[in-house]
Symmetry: T
């Protein structure tokens, strides 16, 4: 069933569609993992991290919507079903149960860092294929790098303590 | 790792914790399926259904947060990770690709109906165990039944068509 | 014409549907009587009562909408037509023409008291039939009892005056 | 009981008072019929019409308040009690039970058209009697004609169907 | 110094300019008298009347601005200086010092009634001269008549008292 | 294709439809010319006039929408296409390129004055044909006359300079 | 002095009135103790806890108002005077002077836990007596349990520390 | 435990700390007594006084926060615990049970008047000690004197009654 | 008729009452003169000055209300009637008719400067009599001095002109 | 008349200026055509499309302003006069008179598709000439492609119809 | 170039001008140092301190504007240029590079404490010279002392550490 | 002390870090110079320019924050201390004392033009090094070019003057 006739040529569409679908799963998975940590974090920094995680989730949700609608706008059906996320999510996840605040900070630094690395590859891949999509991926990267810095800064060891 | 000492006795806690964890997965899954349909719906009623689905998603997301935090408040670690949703989601899902508007309406009537049926059982199960949790489940049921009615009303056949 | 398939069994649906339809007429009638008094009240307490009546009307209108949509959500067509209200409205009404402020206060104490009494019966009747509907009726009762208290407090006689 | 001394001479007051009382009943009845359709509409255009009807109801409620307070301001006690509406409402009403979306559209075109016709007569009648009231009736007419156009436009047959 | 060339012919401009200048003084004076009562009212209804007077003042101030800018738009310099108001204000004023709440209500009924009577004459006078100005005067009359009704309704005697 | 059955008799409809269509083109053209000046104005009063022009454009856009929807409500298809505006726009326009602030002020005084003159004729023409449309034209005239005054006041020559 | 005639029978009223009066004192006392800690907390987590305490205070204040007005609505005069609170407040209080952040967290876990325990008894006691009051107590319990969880999560010891 | 090193010398700190602690108790007590009256007032002026009392409570609560944080900022631990208020509250309090509206007005005139008298002494005492604190006490006095005036104006006897 | 018993001793009250009454007339007069200029200003700076004058008027109106209510709070009946303003207004006024923008700027510099000079005397006079009133006068002075600066800055001559 | 000295070299300015002027006309024309369809659409999907068209118009108007001001910022006078639009508008337009909803959907798919195609060429053309302008064109393209998708999705044939 | 003629005599102006200019530099420097710490803070309390610093910056920026405009209003040209701040900033500054959270807290306690000490001297100096300026400096002192307390409270050592 | 591990390779980081640090100083300096002019401008266009400068300051402050946080996110400590700005600020500054409005306009045209020129070089330099940073610099350039155009347009000579 062809629904939306794309404004891109075939090959460019292939590259762009893949970039968008992968980003969609990264962001949806990140929003679920972020909420999981939001609910399960414990420790003296509970409140700070509990609130900060909701900013990550809000960012991930907003951009997942933009990314999926961009795919649809190009004629590529986006896939964000639970089974698809579970099968293709490629960022670091988390164990079940309560999570110490220090664990959460490390988790987020790692998950956001991986997401940024993958986005930077797609920025390069889409430069020729579709500068409009590239621009969107650049915007997302900027926000995830900012979130990552905040967790990294939070993660800085106290004086004399080992990392 | 025991973190939050529950205000409920052991047995009541078991019943309540199960009810909340199952509801959490129902709502998270519903929010993902709702967004999937929001992006992939096509047909003459696109705009109406596209917008209505976002109300379902907003409701499901808000309540999933309340449900998970209620579990945490009772000392039960909630689990909303991608793999958990994929493994335990029990409402009707959807195929990949574009979805005709009529298919979406039927999907939502069915998914919301199943969710309501499961919630009604949990309302009964938690009546003695924890009236506070029961009250929350009642609130969620009222909203999902309202959403289900709207899709049912939308689904009514034109004159002359068989029901 | 069956439109919305109910999530309730037949008998429970009968009890619940009746409770909702009766509440709908009580609230719509109350909103009309409240406006009538809002426009026709005269006397030194005009402004206080004029404003307070608009709060009653706003409450009655909002809840009439929720009640009717709850009926629809259960598969029961709600009936709020002018002729239905006129024929089945069972709260104390008012004569035509200007109304002294003291008359209005007594009218509202009486109308709200009757409405609360009828709602308490329906709360009991729906407890088994549909706890979701019961929860809605409880909410409405709380608000109408609050409104009734305010008019009662306003109605307190001056020192030395007979009640 | 004479309460508010009118700023109009006797005869002008008679004409104006009648125009306002009739308009009040038209608008209150219209708000009840509009809500009835809002709750009972079914069919593929459910959501569009469900929302549009709430705009009609909001308009009718707001203007009924202005009209009644205008009557009071002129010394004429307005009458919007349930029994008065039921006895004197002169616009097309509706049967009970669910209403197909096409039926609702026809109902609203007809009810709004009748209301406009009656208002235009009153605009003429009040021109000399009270230009202030006339101006209010003109404002109401403009809004009801706009609402009527929208339902008419919605009612246009598909290609090949007879007008 | 001719500044704004009028869009009206000479004679119509004379009639319209006079109507606007007189209305300007009525409204500015009313806003000052209303504030005076707002500050000096005493008695059991203090709060109700204190608040209601601020609505009169807000209405009078807003419309005085519209009226003066309408005059300017027609090329007539409006005059709202203190000495002009003191010299030409023709509505009932008030004595200095504290004012009983009953006195204030009577004062406002009388001042608003006089203002309405004067406006109705100007509505007639400007009908041919400038329907745009007439429309503005109609709007002001509607609001002042509404305010006057509220004070009249408040002024209604208690039971057993003579009218 | 007859779509909306008018509430006006044939002849009145002809007069009213013409008045509305002409006003629509005046307002749409005014909004385009206003934006053209908003972008191209230069000179020491740049900022004041740049901002004031956006108020003219906002007014013209809002009223063009009301006027076109009024025509539709009466059963007359409004025509605001680029080619129609270019062919029938009758107010003073502007040359291309940058515009000195003094030129812009003169342009707006002239364009608004012409628009007001044309509106006043239509106010007279529609008085009998459709008082509802007349009331709308009166409202537009009041706003355009106010805007014209502001540009005229701004245009007043400095002391000793010739007009 | 009998003021508000209750809608409850004598015995149910006794149970309900006691439950509401005790809850009122718990909440007013909690709001005072919460503010005391808000002002006196010191330590590295100052800001987090300072802000979180204000959420507890806001919750306690809002619900104390609802609880007291519910008592009044049932005809029971609520008592929230300073001497009554001091004499009957039964939750853990605090010493005077500065409070370390760790002390504050423990204080709030303990005070909120005690409040919840007392509320759960009243939920049971009012089930038959007044389901409307029970519903209000359930709502309050849900919020206090959520607040208690947050302080418990914050209180989790760092690695290596004993639970 | 010394926490906050004061910016004031010892003696000035003593005077200022005492002034702030006493003001804190006055305001917290006033907020509790104001709420008590808000809930228990009865009589024809119920609504006016019910609403006005909430303004007193809001003012007292806001300023109690500012006063306590000012003490903390100077290095003086503020004490607003229930037992402290009960032991040191020095304004007129109220009996339990329902309160006639006239009693409430007298209570508030008296309580606010006493509070103002005590504040004026502290304004003098802190002039040299800490002009920053003095400025805060001046602000509070201005607001309480305004509230007191409103209750006094409300308290004015009707004609013929003795002062 | 003594209404509000003052919190100030006789002599202090005399000084303070006079300061407040004079300030009230200054501010009310200033608001009228400011509006007069707002409507009548012409010249190239029309828009800037037209807008800036409304800020002066808003400031003057807000503070006149505070000043009058402060007088009432102290037991002094404030007098802001038209005849009182006309008789006692002591700031520079304006001629009738259109006003060049340069004239308006000079007028405002002069009027605001005179007002500030008079306020500074009252600040000194009330220092001992009532520091609460003094604080209010200081606030007003700060705002009027800011407004005066803006008009002075606007008034600066172009290059080559003498200072 | 040279007004704004450009920050770009001559040749880059030529390319960029042309791209901006052409985009300006595309967007202004699109806003006019969108409004024309907004007013003239008829058929069962009237409301959905009527509302969606206003989003297109809002987008087109906002971006036309940004584009024109970008041209001005680079020293190129933008030209959006009626005659320029009519002469150079290159997107598909519409016939006069009422438009069936299906026609409108096709018109918008076609007009938006053409606009996107033209924008993609300009994105390429401005990459070297001015990356700042290119970034703006990318943003506009993303939004128009999203709008185009929505109309395409709406346009999908019912079951049984050929794609 | 004399621009604004001061309302203060020469000598008072000298004292006041110096106080304002010094305060201006303190506040501008504080806003820059606060932002520097906002960006460079690292450690477990990152988020709390990052947010709190933005409140300091907002306070410093707002008051620097008020202080500079107060100087201008008195006829003293304020100087907030980069070179002036660098040359005359007298509060403790910070090294470049990342800053541990504990360092930041100590920096802010010290910088705010120094600022408060300098302000208290100026409060004394301006008491006679200009009470209006003194009042502004009092307001700023109150806010900076509050900010300083919050950092001091945060700085309190954990148990076992020496005070 | 290494805090944030960068997501960029060494060399790219060097280029990007330099671009960001230089932009930070340009923007912070611009915000200080803009405020200096905001406070010191005099002349007939005072109000227009006073307001416009605050828009420049707001833009510069917002973007300085984004730029500094972008540097931090990449692992580069940003430096915005007073001494750094004074030492490295490279845009045209201003003399002390009052500034004529014409001087201010020229200053801003020059400062913004220089800033844009420097940004365009960095846009080129970061294209390969970090497209995310490049995108941010493009956004800033667009806004500064718009601000520069507005001052240029304002700066256009009157008729008869040479260009």
């Amino acid at each position: 069933m062809t629904v939306v006739r794309s404004t891109l040529p075939e090959e460019a569409l292939g590259v762009t569609g893949t970039a968008l679908q992968e980003t969609l799963v990264d962001l949806l998975g990140l929003s679920l993992v972020g909420k999981q940590a939001h609910w399960n974090v414990v420790g003296p920094r509970f409140r700070s991290i509990h609130l900060q995680l909701d900013e990550v989730v809000a960012t991930a949700r907003d951009h997942s919507d933009t990314v999926a609608e961009r795919a649809a706008a190009l004629g590529v059906s986006p896939d964000g079903r639970p089974e698809t996320i579970a099968a293709t999510f490629a960022l670091p996840g988390t164990k079940d149960g309560w999570l110490r605040d220090t664990e959460v900070v490390e988790l987020m630094v790692s998950a956001l860092g991986t997401a940024v690395g993958r986005l930077r590859e797609r920025i390069e891949a889409t430069e020729k294929a579709d500068p409009v999509t590239q621009d969107l991926l650049i915007t997302i990267t900027a926000e995830l790098e900012k979130q990552r810095w905040m967790f990294q800064a939070e993660n800085h060891p106290r004086d004399g303590a080992s990392s």
